[in-house]
C-alpha cells in the first residue's frame, strides 16, 4: 500500500446518523446487526456479548453490542446514547443509538443533536407509538431534516406489505405536519438480518435498497456556502500576537475580508489566520474549522461575540421567541430567569410569555398553565439581560439555537423562531425627519489587560431639541456651547448652555465662532469661516484612501477628549 492510498483513506467522508424510535422497537438491534453484518465489531466484544447473553439465558443479543452498561443489559433497555463507527464501501459512519424510553429523552437529544440524518425505527407489529412521534418531533426541532423510516420486525407480521404501507402512511402524514418528508422507507427484520446488509427473499415485494445501501445514498451537506458566522471562543495573547479564536459555524473567513463583530457591530479587517505549524497557515478558513483570526483594529473583544462579513451580519437583540423542549425535572416557570447559552455567549433570560405547549401526538397547540414540564415542547418568549448576536434557526443553525440552564444544569434547548429587530441603539439627535448618528458621548479608555484602546457606548441613546446633554464624561469634557457637524448624515447640532438648541441640515449651518466637533467628538482645527468652508469641502470627499490624511489635517482628538486607563471595571 502506498502513502497516497493512506491519505486517500484518511480523507474518507464520515456521516453521523442517529437511530431513533419508541422503546423496544429494536433500535439497538438494528445498529448491532448493521455492525455485525459489516464486520465492524471486534471479536473480543462479540465473545463478551455471547458470554453475557448465555449467562442471562438469552440468544445472542445484538443490542448488547451497544448497551454496554450492566444496568442496560439486565433491563434490556438502552439508558444512554452511544456512538459507534463502521466502515461501508462508500464512506465511514458514526451511528448514534438514541434511547427510546421516555425517561431518557435527554439522552436521546444528546445523541441526536449533532446527527446529519436520522432513521426512525417502528415495530411492524406494534405500529406507531408515543415515542415514535415524540422522537420525530424532537428531530424536527433539532433541525435534522433528512429522515428515513425503518419498519422493523417484519417477520412478526408475516412480511405483510399492507402492514408496511399502513405504518409508513401514518408516519408520513405526521411528518408532513412537521414540515418533514421521509426520503426513504424500508421494511426489515434486524434480528434475522433481513434487508439490513442483505436483501431478503421474504420481502420480494420491496424493490428499494437495503439499509446499508440506503445509507450510502445519503449526501453530505456542508455549511460552507452560507454566510460567515464565527462565534468568538476566546481571545489569546500568549505572545505578541492577539488572536480571536473560534470555530467557523458557517461560511468562510478570508484574509482582507471586512468583518463585523457583534453585538457591538465593530468593523475591522482580517489580517491573518495564524497557526502553530507553517504548513497549517492559510488564507481562508471554512465552515467546521477551528481557527484564529488576527484583525487590523484592536477593539476590546471577548468570548460570546460573533464575527460575520459586514454585508450579512446577525441580528442583535434582547428579545426573542423560540420553540423549546424542556428536560428539567423541575418545570420551566413563567417569569423565572434562566441562564441562556447561545453559541459562545451567555446571558440571563427571563421567560416573559409561554404562548402555548405543543402536543407531540397531534402537534396541536395546548394552552399553557404558566409552566412547561419535563419532556414538553412549548413556544415561549424570552427577554435577555443584554443584547446578543443571533439568527433565526431556519436561516442559520448554530447562532439560531440555545440551551437554558437552571443552576448547574442544562434543563432545556430551544430554536429561535422570531427576533425583535430594533434599529441598533446609537446616540443620536433628531428633529422631525432630520436624524444624526453621533458618538460624541462614547467613552474611550486604555484597557490594561488587553493593552488596547477600547470604547464604551453610553446608555442614553437619544436627544431632541431642549434636552440637556452630558458635557463631562470620564474621557471627554465639552464646552458649555459648541456645534457638532455630522458629515455622514449631513446634519449639524447646536449645543447652547449644555442643551440642544437646534438641529439643522448641514447645508444651512453657518460657522458661528464656537468650538466645532465632528460626530465622534473630535475637535475640528478651525479658526475662521474660511477654514470651515475648506474643511467642509475637504471632508465631503473623505474615502478610505484619504481619510487618515484628512483626519490629520483637520481633526484634533485631544481637544475635548483624553484616554484614561481602565479595565473591565470601566463603565459609565
Amino acid at each position: 500500500m502506498t502513502e497516497d492510498r493512506h491519505l486517500a483513506k484518511a480523507s474518507r467522508e464520515k456521516l453521523k446518523i442517529v437511530v431513533a424510535g419508541h422503546v423496544d422497537h429494536g433500535k439497538s438491534t438494528v445498529i448491532g446487526r448493521l455492525l455485525y453484518d459489516t464486520n465492524s465489531v471486534n471479536l473480543g466484544l462479540v465473545e463478551k456479548v455471547k458470554r453475557i447473553s448465555a449467562e442471562t439465558g438469552h440468544p445472542f443479543e445484538f443490542a448488547f453490542l451497544l448497551d454496554a452498561f450492566e444496568e442496560e443489559r439486565k433491563q434490556g433497555i438502552t439508558i444512554d446514547t452511544t456512538q459507534l463507527q463502521f466502515r461501508a464501501a462508500l464512506r465511514d459512519y458514526v451511528i448514534i443509538d438514541a434511547p427510546g424510553h421516555k425517561e431518557f429523552l435527554k439522552n436521546m437529544i444528546s445523541g441526536a443533536s449533532d446527527a446529519e440524518a436520522a432513521f426512525l425505527v417502528v415495530d411492524a407489529e406494534k405500529g406507531v407509538e408515543e415515542q415514535s412521534r415524540r422522537h420525530a418531533h424532537m428531530l424536527s426541532l433539532l433541525g435534522v431534516r433528512r429522515l428515513g423510516l425503518l419498519v422493523n420486525k417484519m417477520d412478526l407480521v408475516n412480511y405483510d406489505q399492507k402492514v408496511f404501507l399502513a405504518i409508513t402512511a401514518a408516519l408520513n402524514e405526521y411528518l408532513a405536519s412537521l414540515g418533514l418528508t421521509a426520503t426513504i422507507a424500508l421494511p426489515l427484520s434486524a434480528l434475522l438480518g433481513e434487508n439490513v446488509a442483505q436483501p431478503s427473499p421474504h420481502l420480494a415485494w420491496y424493490q428499494g435498497p437495503t439499509l446499508l445501501a440506503a445509507l450510502d445514498s445519503l449526501e453530505k451537506v456542508t455549511e460552507e456556502e452560507s454566510d460567515l458566522r464565527l462565534p468568538i471562543q476566546d481571545v489569546y495573547k500568549f505572545d505578541d500576537r492577539r488572536v480571536l479564536a473560534g470555530r467557523i459555524e458557517s461560511g468562510r473567513a478570508r484574509i482582507n475580508d471586512r468583518i463585523m463583530i457583534s453585538p457591538g457591530n465593530k468593523i475591522t479587517t482580517v489580517v491573518s489566520l495564524p497557526a502553530w505549524l507553517e504548513r497549517d497557515l492559510k488564507d481562508e478558513g471554512r465552515a467546521g474549522e477551528s481557527v484564529g483570526l488576527m484583525v487590523a483594529d484592536e477593539f476590546y473583544n471577548r468570548r460570546g461575540e460573533v464575527i460575520s462579513l459586514v454585508d450579512n451580519p446577525p441580528l442583535v437583540s434582547d428579545r426573542l421567541k423560540a420553540s423549546i423542549f424542556w428536560l428539567g425535572q423541575k418545570p420551566l416557570i413563567l417569569k423565572r430567569r434562566y441562564k441562556i447559552k447561545l453559541a459562545t455567549a451567555e446571558a440571563e433570560a427571563a421567560v416573559i410569555e409561554i404562548h402555548h405547549l405543543i402536543d407531540s401526538d397531534s402537534l396541536a397547540p395546548i394552552k399553557a398553565e404558566g409552566q412547561v414540564r419535563l419532556n414538553e415542547v412549548a413556544v415561549v418568549e424570552l427577554s435577555l439581560s443584554r443584547p446578543l448576536a443571533m439568527d433565526l434557526f431556519a436561516s442559520r443553525k448554530a447562532t439560531g439555537r440555545f440551551v437554558l440552564q437552571d443552576g448547574y444544569d442544562v434543563v432545556g434547548g430551544g430554536v429561535i423562531t422570531w427576533i425583535e429587530d430594533r434599529p441598533p441603539v446609537r446616540t443620536g439627535f433628531s428633529l422631525g425627519a432630520l436624524k444624526a448618528r453621533c458618538e460624541i458621548f462614547e467613552e474611550y479608555f486604555y484597557h490594561v489587560g488587553e493593552m488596547a484602546v477600547n470604547k464604551i457606548k453610553p446608555p442614553r441613546p437619544h436627544y431632541g431639541v431642549g434636552d440637556p446633554v452630558p458635557l463631562v464624561g470620564r474621557s471627554y469634557r465639552y464646552p458649555e456651547s459648541f456645534d457638532i457637524v455630522v458629515f455622514r448624515d449631513q446634519v449639524a447640532i447646536q449645543i447652547r448652555n449644555g442643551q440642544v438648541a437646534n438641529i439643522l441640515p448641514l447645508a444651512e449651518f453657518v460657522y458661528g465662532q464656537l468650538p466645532l466637533v465632528n460626530g465622534r467628538g473630535f475637535g475640528l482645527k478651525i479658526q475662521s469661516n474660511e477654514d470651515w468652508l475648506k474643511a467642509r469641502d475637504d471632508l465631503a470627499t473623505s474615502n478610505p484612501e484619504n481619510e487618515s490624511s484628512l483626519a490629520e489635517r483637520w481633526l484634533d482628538f485631544n481637544a475635548y477628549r483624553h484616554i484614561p486607563i481602565g479595565g473591565d471595571d470601566f463603565h459609565i
Binding site: A10, N107, K341
Partner: protein
C-alpha cells in the same frame, strides 16, 4: 473537510472551551499514543503554547522505557510536568499481586484523586475514546465527577450543540474528553499525517509490539510485524481483535471497566 480535519477541528474546539470555561486545568499524559496526539492538538489549539500542566499518574509499575521517554519529551518541549504517585499505597506494598482491580483502584484511581485534590484541578483533559470499550462509549465530552470522583453514569446531563457542562458545585471537577469521537485507526492516521513522534514500544521488535500501553505486569504484547506507522494502520485495517485485549484489568469481569470508571478511573 475530510474526516481527520473535522475530528481535529472538533478537538480544538473542545480544548478551547475547557480553557475558556474551567478553572485550573491539567492534561493527563499517559505517554501513550492518544495523549501524545492530545499534546499535539493542544499546541495547535493554542498556537504553539500549552497553557496548562501535564500530569502523569505514575504507578511505579509502568514499562521502564515509558518513563525515560516521558522525561525526554517533557524536557524537549519544556512541559510543566506534575508526576504523582500514591506513595502510601506503594509503601504498604500495593501491586498487581494484591488483585488487578484493587491495584488499579489504588495506584491509578486513588492516585489521580489525591493529585486532583492536591492541585485543586477543576478540569482534567483525558484522552479516552468511545471505541476503546463500552463504558467509554457512553461518555460525555465534559463529564462531571463529584467530590469523591464518582461518575454518575446513569444520570448524565444532556450535552447538545457544543454546549458543555461548565457549571458545577465547588469541589467537583470535569473530565474533558477531546478525543471521544476518534477511533484507534483515526489516531494512527493522524500520527501518520502529522508526523507525530510516538514512543517506539508501539513498533514491532522480534515479531511483537504493544498495541496499548500500561503497567508492565498487566500489559501484553501482540504478535505483529508492524515496524512503521503505515504498517500499523494496515494491521488495524485487517484486525478483529480489540485494542485493549492485552490489558489484563479489562478482562477481570464483564463490567470491570464500568466499575473502575464509576469510581474515578480514567
Amino acid at each position: 473537510m475530510n474526516h481527520l480535519q473535522s475530528l481535529e477541528a472538533y478537538s480544538l474546539f473542545i480544548l478551547r472551551e475547557a480553557y475558556a470555561k474551567l478553572g485550573r486545568l491539567g492534561l493527563l499524559w499517559s505517554i501513550g499514543k492518544d495523549s501524545t496526539v492530545l499534546l499535539w492538538l493542544a499546541k495547535k489549539a493554542f498556537f504553539g503554547h500549552c497553557p496548562f500542566p501535564f500530569i502523569h499518574v505514575d504507578t511505579s509499575y509502568k514499562i521502564p522505557q515509558m518513563i525515560v521517554y516521558r522525561d525526554k519529551v517533557a524536557k524537549e518541549l519544556g512541559l510543566e510536568m506534575i508526576v504523582h504517585q500514591n506513595v502510601k499505597a506503594l509503601a504498604a506494598g500495593m501491586g498487581p499481586d494484591k488483585g488487578r482491580l484493587i491495584c488499579c483502584q489504588a495506584l491509578k484511581t486513588e492516585a489521580l484523586s489525591e493529585m486532583t485534590a492536591k492541585h485543586g484541578f477543576e478540569g482534567l483533559i483525558v484522552g479516552v475514546r468511545r471505541d476503546e470499550e463500552g463504558s467509554r462509549s457512553k461518555e460525555r465530552v465534559f463529564s462531571e465527577r463529584t467530590k469523591d470522583d464518582v461518575w454518575d453514569y446513569v444520570h448524565q446531563p444532556p450535552e447538545l450543540w457544543g454546549q458543555f457542562k461548565t457549571d458545577f458545585p465547588k469541589g467537583h471537577h470535569i473530565r474533558v474528553h477531546p478525543l471521544l469521537q476518534w477511533s484507534e485507526i483515526d489516531i494512527w492516521r493522524y500520527i501518520d499525517q502529522e508526523r507525530i513522534p510516538v514512543i517506539d514500544l508501539y513498533f514491532a521488535k522480534n515479531g511483537q509490539r504493544y498495541r496499548s500501553l500500561g503497567c508492565a505486569p498487566c500489559t501484553g504484547l501482540i504478535d505483529s510485524q508492524a515496524t512503521t506507522v503505515p504498517d500499523i494502520i494496515r494491521e488495524l485495517e485487517n484486525t478483529k481483535v480489540s485494542e485493549r485485549a492485552g490489558r489484563a484489568q479489562d478482562q477481570e469481569d464483564a463490567y470491570a471497566m464500568q466499575k473502575l470508571r464509576r469510581d474515578g478511573y480514567m
